[in-house]
């Protein structure tokens, strides 16, 4: 049941996108998000849709996985669509009570929906093809210039990768403790709010204890291997751009150009 939580939901297949440098993918996602806000007519979104389709195809991740990410924003999507639909001024189509639906509203709502869906799917492509570790590696390197102004980039990246690494461990641990307490007759589903909160105690206490135990163990293991921060630390797999990354950057440039052009159609 609890396995369905998907953060850092890497999908392990081999594709051009999986092999790509994380920095390229990070930058690409950013370009894509910017482009979604630049586009303001059907043509722009058509180009964005085309790119997304090609990229999903290249990633070899089943489309169902991308769509799964949309479930999380369904509520947000509904709210923003209805706000745009009912609260935009313009030429009226029909009205129900005080709610007016206008042509402009329909247009805005449709664009808003498309924008949100593409945004989530676009970033899903990145998280599905990049392991959390690669991602933090990419972030650390991309933001490396901030070190000059004394931002502890390495430490922050390390914290992030440890946190990410701990999510599946804690999920598994929760699953295990939950089952162990269920084997002792625990019931996590029925009862009112207070009853439910109370039934969480046998789950949360062991979980906290195990989280602290793991944290001390990890700190000890890191010290035993002489970890002392980022200073002078080298990488086993340093990030290096390959030809496909340069190709990708060229594609971004062309894509942005086309998006800007569609604004004048």
């Amino acid at each position: 049941m609890i396995r369905e939580i998907t953060i850092g939901q890497y999908y392990p297949v081999d594709s051009v996108l999986h092999r790509m440098d994380p920095r390229t993918k990070l930058f690409g996602t950013m370009v894509y998000i910017v482009s979604l806000f630049l586009a303001d007519n059907v043509w722009g979104y058509a180009v964005a849709a085309l790119l997304l389709a090609v990229v999903i195809r290249l990633s070899r991740v089943p489309v169902s996985f991308m769509v799964r990410g949309l479930k999380a924003i369904l509520f947000l999507l509904l709210i923003s669509v209805s706000f745009n639909l009912f609260l935009t001024d313009g030429e009226e189509i029909f009205r129900v009570g005080f709610l007016r639906v206008t042509w402009e509203g329909v247009r805005m709502a449709a664009f808003m929906a498309v924008r949100l869906i593409f945004l989530v799917m676009g970033s899903s492509v990145m998280t599905l093809t990049t392991t959390p570790n690669q991602l933090t590696d990419g972030l650390e390197k991309s933001l490396g210039f901030l070190k000059k102004v004394r931002v502890p980039v390495h430490e922050m990246a390390m914290i992030m990768s440890i946190a990410l690494r701990f999510i599946p461990i804690l999920v598994e641990e929760t699953d295990k403790i939950m089952k162990a307490q269920m084997a002792r007759g625990a019931d996590f589903e029925s009862g009112g709010l207070i009853q439910k909160a109370k039934s969480m105690v046998p789950l949360l206490v062991p979980l906290f204890i195990s989280a602290f135990r793991r944290a001390t163990d990890l700190a000890m293991a890191m010290e035993a291997r002489c970890y002392h921060g980022g200073e002078g630390r080298t990488k086993m797999k340093p990030l290096r751009y390959a030809r496909r990354d340069y190709t990708a950057y060229a594609v971004y440039a062309v894509y942005l150009g086309v998006i800007v052009l569609t604004k004048f159609v």
Binding site: R3, Y11, P12, V13, P62, F65, K176, I177, K179, A180, Q181, M182, A183, R184, G185, A186, D187, V201, P202, V205, P206, I209, S210
Partner: protein, 283 residues
């Protein structure tokens, strides 16, 4: 006919690239009061299998019957089942959470909705059963030693008065003394109360010593099913599955190769000692 498993199949993450077949068409029957050992290399499906036996996991395919009733049929109370089939997880001390030992053991029977005095009674019985002295009862479980914590956790399951007790590597990480004590207590439960025991362990010596019957799992399938003597005869196949026979079995086989006339089915040190004494007396 206490537990019957029919063609049990379980697949993790079905329909994705992460798909993994943990159990593949497993069938067996465990009669009341049997002491069954379950062995298999890491990832062979043992833990998944035992979680099915008290309804914690829903199978992808196949059926499980407890006393003739399908446990996944509509309206069957899984909570009732869990009070009859007790499951002690690996490192069960990680599930302790209460302020003192006795309250933690009370958690299970209280969940069954029993009156408070019976809850207390059961908890005290269970603690005595695992050999926890009264002076520890009011202590925090987190102040106890590893072996004691584990006993408290096992008592937490025993306090539910199960008919079947399943233990997943109850001796992992314990010192030899703690290990023998726990297993002797389990055997006592089996002998005195006729409790059905299913024991998962990697120690072939323990299996030879305690189990009446062995189930061997390999890649999600049942590989062997029989008495320890029968199973350990296949020690070469067991080795290919990442398992082994008890060390003394190897000694016996080596002796036979050198021409000593000794029973090849010996699995415990005591048996080997008696057989060797006999051989020496004959000579």
């Amino acid at each position: 006919m206490a537990i019957r498993v029919e063609d049990l199949t379980f697949i993790y993450n079905e329909g994705t690239a992460l798909e993994q077949r943990a159990l593949d068409g497993v069938s067996f029957e465990i009669p009341d009061g049997q002491f069954v050992g379950l062995i298999g290399h890491t990832g062979s499906g043992k833990s998944t299998l035992i979680q099915h036996l008290n309804g914690l996991v829903k199978p992808t395919g196949g059926k499980i019957y407890y006393n003739g009733e399908d446990i996944y049929s509509e309206g069957y109370s899984l909570r009732q089942l869990r009070s009859k089939v007790g499951l002690v997880f690996q490192y069960p001390e990680h599930q302790l959470f209460e302020v003192d030992v006795i309250s933690d053991v009370c958690y299970g029977p209280r969940n069954l909705g029993l009156p408070e005095d019976e809850v207390r009674q059961r908890a005290e019985d269970a603690l005595r059963l695992v050999g926890m002295k009264e002076k520890y009862w009011e202590q925090s479980p987190f102040e106890l030693s590893g072996g004691q914590k584990r006993r408290v956790a096992i008592a937490g399951v025993l306090a539910m008065n199960p008919e079947v007790l399943i233990l997943d590597e109850p001796t992992a990480g314990l010192d030899p003394k703690g290990r023998d004590e726990i297993l002797d207590q389990v055997e006592k439960l089996h002998n005195a109360r006729g409790m059905t025991i299913i024991l998962v362990s990697h120690s072939m010596e323990d299996m030879a010593r305690y189990a009446e019957r062995l189930l061997v799992m390999n890649h999600g399938k049942k590989a062997f099913d029989g008495t320890p003597r029968e199973i350990f005869r296949h020690y070469k196949e067991l080795e290919q599955m990442g398992l082994a026979a008890p060390q003394v079995t190897y000694v016996v086989h080596a002796l036979r190769e050198r021409g000593v006339d000794i029973d090849e089915d010996i699995t415990t040190v005591e048996e080997a000692r008696d057989a060797l004494l006999e051989v020496l007396q004959r000579a």
